[in-house]
Amino acid sequence: MTDPLTARIWLFRSYYLTLCLFVMIWKILPLGIDDGAIPVPNLIMALTFAWVLRQPNTVPLGAIAFIFLTNDFLTHAPVGLGALIMVLASERLRRLQPEISNMTFLGEFGMVTGTIALCTLAERVILGVLLAEQAPFLQVALHAIVTIACYPVVVVISKYLLGLDRLNAADPDNV
């Protein structure tokens, strides 16, 4: 009944959920408290952007909302803030995806850099408007930079290890 295309999409959806849950579990494991000196990349953010720009169908909106809401709950972050920002950002990238898929990787990387920077800024602005407590700017900025730096690595792993190719105009049905 299921055609190979649908099966493939669902396979990648399950990959996405599994990978995100794995990263989240790894992060909350009690393996000693890092003192924030070494910035850790926000891997699920990079993964989500990479996949939205390659295969938008494999990263449905519901999955993004679910993953990032759970992440907010588990990491003691402001409830819903991370999810809101990621939903908005991924929707924006989803809309731009046809144009970006015609760009070179450098162009795509530039778009993602801008998006991550905007997300970081948006989070600070919203927290500032709500007069909530914020982490020091330098630390947050360092984390954003490290996330941006690990984006190409995430792309390479998705492409060569998982076989997630870009949706390109040349062969439209290769989803």
Binding site: L29, V40, P56, L84, D173
Partner: protein, 321 residues
């Protein structure tokens, strides 16, 4: 073709509506978190309570692996550690002698005074299930919760020193806000000068010591213990030692081993009032504002009778408890 389909799909009114609803829902959650924080934290505790204990099967092997990597790293520094341990052992021997003598002396003194140790300081032990997962928030999750009689606000220690307090309680899990978190403030006393100060976390491993009256009386190496002034932490729990950072600010080197928190003691404290409403404070019950007025000496009466003075004294006594 695919792109047309793609765009068509995105512009679908149902999908657009769904996105807008989702955004409104998330905005609502953020506002709830900001406005009614205790309720949001209870929701968070409930969610964590559902998820984390169920993930234990998945977490156990990964935790084991991570600990092995940690252990291997310490294996590599074996020689260095061995030397250090030898030195420490030498010092400990001297301390042990002193401790034994002090213990004997203490026993004699206690016997003279007929003092009973405080029976309220019993504890519940819990295992650390997870940490906060974020470098900006310092908290760990324990596998004990309301089911085990843990209550919000109780202090948590490892074997040696103060670790934090319970902030967020689920049925099976409890979140411990560490003293290194930026939201943590602990009233402390610095020994031997006996000065009151505030231990305030700033996301570093060594929290700041603030509001010291006479900094001249304090030297590096002084002991820091909780003062119990807020009624939240029991008095006399060891926190750590004073260190002075390059900016001449006082910081605390914590006695608890924050690098490997695995078992924690949650100290039972019956005096803590649970935080149920957003407008109440954690702490000992405040004296009733009406009572002092009732018992205030009447200005028309020139000399209060001994009975009146006695009742007012009694009342202030009960208010204070």
């Amino acid at each position: 073709m695919a792109r047309d389909r793609h765009e068509e799909n995105l512009a679908h009114p149902m999908r657009r509506l769904l996105v807008i609803l989702l955004i409104i829902f998330l905005l609502g959650l953020i506002l709830l978190w900001r406005i009614d924080n205790p309720r949001a934290e209870r929701i968070r505790a409930a969610v964590v309570d559902r998820i984390v204990p169920n993930m234990e099967w998945a977490m156990a092997p990964v935790t084991g692996l991570g600990r092995m990597v940690d252990d291997f790293q310490s294996y590599a520094r074996l020689y260095e550690q061995n030397e250090q341990l030898r030195r420490e052992l030498q010092q400990m021997r001297a301390w042990r002698e002193a401790a034994i003598q002090l213990e004997q002396e203490n026993a004699r003194l206690l016997d003279l005074n007929r003092v009973q140790p405080d029976p309220s300081l019993t504890w519940i032990s819990g295992i650390v299930l997870a940490d906060s997962g974020s470098p900006f928030r310092r908290s760990v999750l324990l596998n004990v919760g309301a089911r085990d009689g843990v209550e919000d606000g109780w202090a948590a220690m490892d074997g040696l020193g103060l670790v934090g307090r319970i902030a967020g309680l689920g049925e099976r899990t409890a979140r411990v806000l560490l003293v290194t978190d930026t939201n943590s403030r602990v009233p402390v006393v610095i020994q031997p000068s006996g000065q009151q100060a505030l231990l305030s976390g700033d996301n570093s491993t060594a929290p700041l010591i603030e509001f010291i009256e006479t900094p001249e009386d304090i030297a590096a190496g002084d002991r820091i213990v909780t003062s119990g002034a807020d009624g939240l932490y029991p008095a006399g729990l060891l926190v750590g030692q004073i260190v002075i950072d390059p900016d001449r600010a006082f910081r605390a080197r914590l006695a608890a081993d924050f690098g490997r928190l695995s078992f924690l003691r949650v100290m039972r404290n019956p005096d803590v009032v649970p935080l149920n409403d957003s407008d109440t404070l954690i702490g000992p019950p405040l004296p009733d504002p009406v009572t002092p007025e009732l018992n205030a000496p009447d200005p028309t009466v020139s000399d209060p009778t001994p009975e009146a003075a006695e009742t007012s004294a009694d009342n202030t006594g009960t208010d204070g408890t």
